[in-house]
C-alpha cells in the first residue's frame, strides 16, 4: 500500500521586488495513518509555506513550487487539475491554519460556518447540516453545543474558537490533518486541553497528523517523529527519543541547549550565536554554517544532504556529524 502522504524534495520560492525568497528548499517527509509527525522550526523556517504548498494554496505569483512532489495515497497532487485538487482539500487533507483565531467570519454564527462544510461539500440539506455541525461541536467538546450553535465568534474564547477551527477541519473526515501552530495563541492550561482533543480525535479517526510548531515541549509530548527545519530545509529527522536525547545536528543541539527547563536551574542558558538567516541571502553551503560551533571550511562549499545515522531511519544534514556527535 502507498504511504498516506509523501512530501519529496519540495522547493517553494517567492519572487518579490527585493529578490527571490527561497522559503522551502528540498523538504521531504512522510506521514502514515495514526501517526504524528512534527515539523519543528523557528520563525521563517518555511513551516507554513510548506503546508500551504501541500494544500495547493500558494498564490502564484509571487509563489512558485519549482521542484518536488507531494503524493497522497500515491496520487501526485502538484500536477493535479484545480477542480480535482479542490476535492482533495478538506476531504482527504485538511488544515487548521496558524491564524485560525481570526479565520472565522465575524458576521455568521459559529454553527452556520461549521454546517456550511456539509452544505457546500456534501450537498447536505440545512437540517442535516445543522445536525452534523452540532455533533461535531460536541465532538470537540464545546459545552452546550445545541445552544452555542447560534453564537458568534466574538462570543467564544480563544480556546473555543480553536476548537471550532478543528471541528471545521474534521468535518469531511480527512485522512491527513495538518495543524499549523494549533496552540501557540493559547494559554498553557487551554493548550493542554486542545492538544488532548487532537490526540482523542486522532485515536478515534485514525488520521495522520502533521503538527507544525516551534515549541519543543509540544513536540516532545505530542509527536512520534520530528522534522527539524532551518532555512527551508530539513536539518535532522528522527524519533522523539532520538532527537531529544541524542541530537545529531548542531542546530538541533543548539535548540535543545537554548531552552530553559523547569527542572534545570540557574545554569546559564546556551543560546545559538548570531541571528536567523535572511532568506533573500541564504549562506552558501550549509545554511546553518555562520552560527555553527563545529563549522569547517567545506561547510561553505557543499550543501550537506540528509544522511542516515545508524539504521533506525534517523537522518542528519551535516558534513561533520561523526566528529561532532560520534557514531
Amino acid at each position: 500500500m502507498d504511504p498516506l502522504l509523501v512530501v519529496d524534495d519540495l522547493h517553494v520560492e517567492f519572487r518579490t521586488d527585493d529578490g527571490v525568497v527561497r522559503a522551502v528548499n528540498g523538504l521531504s517527509y512522510m506521514v502514515d495513518r495514526r501517526e504524528t509527525v512534527a515539523i519543528l522550526g523557528e520563525s521563517g523556517s518555511g513551516k507554513s509555506v510548506s503546508a500551504q504548498a501541500i494544500m495547493g494554496l500558494i498564490a502564484s505569483p509571487p509563489g512558485f513550487i519549482t521542484k518536488g512532489s507531494v503524493r497522497f495515497e500515491g496520487r501526485e497532487l502538484l500536477t493535479m487539475a484545480e477542480d480535482e485538487r479542490r476535492k482533495v482539500r478538506g476531504a482527504d487533507i485538511a488544515m487548521v491554519f496558524q491564524d485560525a483565531l481570526s479565520a472565522l467570519n465575524p458576521v455568521f454564527s459559529v454553527g452556520w460556518q461549521i454546517s456550511e462544510m456539509f452544505r457546500k461539500h456534501r450537498g447536505a440539506s440545512k437540517k442535516e447540516a445543522k445536525k452534523s455541525a452540532v455533533e461535531l461541536m460536541e465532538l470537540v467538546e464545546i459545552p452546550d453545543a445545541t445552544n452555542r450553535y447560534r453564537s458568534f465568534p466574538h462570543e467564544f474564547s480563544g480556546g473555543m474558537r480553536q476548537r471550532v477551527m478543528i471541528a471545521m477541519a474534521l468535518a469531511l473526515d480527512p485522512d491527513v490533518l495538518i495543524a499549523d501552530e494549533p496552540t501557540t495563541a493559547l494559554d498553557v492550561t487551554v493548550q493542554a486541553q486542545v492538544m488532548q482533543l487532537l490526540e482523542n480525535v486522532q485515536a478515534e479517526f485514525g488520521m495522520g497528523l502533521v503538527l507544525i510548531t516551534h515549541d519543543l515541549g509540544v513536540v516532545a509530548e505530542q509527536a512520534d517523529r520530528v522534522v527539524v527545519m532551518y532555512a527551508g530545509r530539513a536539518m535532522e529527522k528522527g524519533t522523539i527519543d532520538e532527537i531529544f536525547d541524542q541530537p545529531h545536528h548542531p542546530y538541533t543541539e543548539g535548540l535543545m541547549n537554548s531552552i530553559p527547563r523547569l527542572d534545570d536551574l540557574n545554569e546559564r542558558l546556551n543560546p545559538i550565536r548570531g541571528n536567523p538567516p535572511d532568506l533573500l541571502r541564504i549562506p552558501s553551503g550549509c545554511a546553518f554554517r555562520p552560527r555553527c560551533p563545529y563549522q569547517q571550511p567545506d561547510c561553505a562549499e557543499v550543501e550537506p544532504t540528509l544522511e542516515f545515522v545508524g539504521d533506525s531511519g534517523r537522518s542528519t544534514a551535516c558534513h561533520h556529524w561523526r566528529d561532532a556527535f560520534g557514531e
Binding site: G217, L255, S258, P271, P276
Partner: protein, 332 residues
C-alpha cells in the same frame, strides 16, 4: 535580600465598561484587584499568569501609565499613587520599561541614536548633549550590538537585535528598576536565550532590579528570585522560585505548572497533568468568594462565599487558598 525598592500594596485598577452613545458606565473590568508585592534591590521578581489576568495592567499602573483606582505604589521610599506629575516623572527616571513587541515599540522613523538619546532630552542634565553619541555607542556595546550601527533604523535589525535596542533605551537613564513586560515572548528560542543572558549579565554588573512579566513559566523560573502567580486580577501565590515551582500550594499554580509540556524524550518521567475545565471567567464579572473556585477541584462551600486572603504558609511563601497544599521540604 536587601531593602525593598518597590512596594506595591492593595493596588486596584478597574476599567469602566461603557454602553450606548452616552457611554453610560454599566460595569467595571476588575483588571487588577488588590495586588501586593515588593521587589528588593538587585532582585528579579517574576509575574506569571494566563492571558488577561492583569499582568500588563499591574505593570502599567506601577509605571504610572495608568492611574490607579486605589492602593499604594512606593518606589525608592516615595508614594507614587496620587503624587504630582513632576514627582512621578522624577521617579520614572529610575524605573524603566521594556515591552514585548520589539517591532512595535521602536519608532520606525527614528535612528537608533535618536531612539536611545530621546530620554536625555526628556530628562536634561543626565548626559551632556555633546556626549550623547559616544554614550549611545557605549550602550550599544553593553547590549552586544555593533556601536557603528547608531545611524541605522529599526527595520534594519532582527527581532532579537531590536529587543537589545529596547533594552539599551531602558538603560539610558541608569535606572534602578526595569519592568520588562514579556520581553522575550516574541523572540525565537535560540535568540530568546541571548536576551535572557544579557538581562542577567546587566543585573550582575549594574545591580538592577527586575519585575519580569511572562507567560512562559520556564523562562520566569530561570530568571526570577521570587515569583508571583496571578489569576483574574489577584496574586494567588507568591514566594521564592523553588517554593512556588517545587512546592506549589495553590491549586491553580499546581494546574498551571502541570500543564507546561516538557521538552524531553519519552524516557523522562512526567508528573500527572491536572486538566482544568473551562476557561478563565471574565474580569468584568468575576466569581464571588475565591475567584478560582469555578475551576477548582478542591472547591468547598467556603470557597464560594469567602475570599481567601494572601497569607504566609511558610516563611516567605504566601498563598491565597482555604485549602492549600501542604508544603514539602525542599532540599537546598
Amino acid at each position: 535580600m536587601s531593602e525593598p525598592i518597590l512596594e506595591v500594596a492593595n493596588l486596584v485598577k478597574h476599567f469602566p465598561v461603557t454602553k450606548g452613545v452616552l457611554r453610560r458606565t454599566v460595569g467595571q473590568v476588575q483588571a487588577v484587584d488588590g495586588v501586593s508585592f515588593d521587589v528588593a534591590r538587585g532582585e528579579t521578581v517574576g509575574l506569571v499568569g494566563e492571558s488577561g489576568c492583569g499582568k500588563s495592567t499591574t505593570a502599567r499602573t506601577v509605571l504610572g501609565l495608568e492611574k490607579a483606582t486605589s492602593g499604594s505604589v512606593r518606589f525608592l521610599g516615595r508614594e507614587l499613587v496620587g503624587a504630582d506629575m513632576s514627582d512621578v516623572r522624577a521617579a520614572r527616571r529610575d524605573m524603566q520599561v521594556v515591552f514585548q513587541d520589539p517591532y512595535a515599540s521602536l519608532n520606525p522613523r527614528m535612528t537608533v541614536n535618536n531612539i536611545i538619546a530621546e530620554a536625555w532630552h526628556i530628562h536634561p542634565g543626565v548626559v551632556d548633549e555633546s556626549k550623547h553619541r559616544t554614550k549611545v555607542q557605549e550602550l550599544l556595546e553593553v547590549v552586544g550590538l555593533n556601536p557603528n550601527y547608531v545611524n541605522r533604523y529599526p527595520h534594519q535589525f532582527s527581532g532579537g537585535q531590536r529587543q537589545r535596542i529596547g533594552i539599551a533605551r531602558a538603560l539610558a537613564l541608569e535606572p534602578t528598576l526595569i519592568i520588562a513586560d514579556e520581553p522575550v515572548s516574541a523572540l525565537d528560542v535560540s535568540v530568546q536565550a541571548q536576551v535572557v543572558n544579557l538581562l542577567e549579565d546587566l543585573q550582575n554588573e549594574l545591580g538592577l532590579s527586575y519585575l519580569f512579566i511572562a507567560h512562559d513559566l520556564s523562562v520566569v523560573r530561570h530568571i526570577s528570585d521570587r515569583v508571583a502567580v496571578m489569576y483574574l486580577g489577584k496574586i494567588v501565590e507568591f514566594g521564592a522560585g523553588a517554593d512556588v515551582y517545587e512546592s506549589p500550594a495553590h491549586p491553580y499554580t499546581k494546574a498551571l505548572l502541570s500543564a507546561v509540556p516538557v521538552p524531553a524524550s519519552r524516557k523522562h518521567v512526567r508528573g500527572e497533568r491536572i486538566m482544568l475545565k473551562g476557561d478563565v471567567p471574565s474580569p468584568s464579572n468575576p466569581p464571588g468568594g475565591c475567584r478560582f473556585h469555578t475551576r477548582c477541584w478542591k472547591v468547598a462551600d467556603i470557597c464560594r462565599t469567602d475570599e481567601p486572603p494572601l497569607e504566609e504558609i511558610t516563611p516567605g511563601h504566601q498563598v491565597a487558598c482555604h485549602y492549600p497544599e501542604t508544603p514539602v521540604e525542599i532540599g537546598v
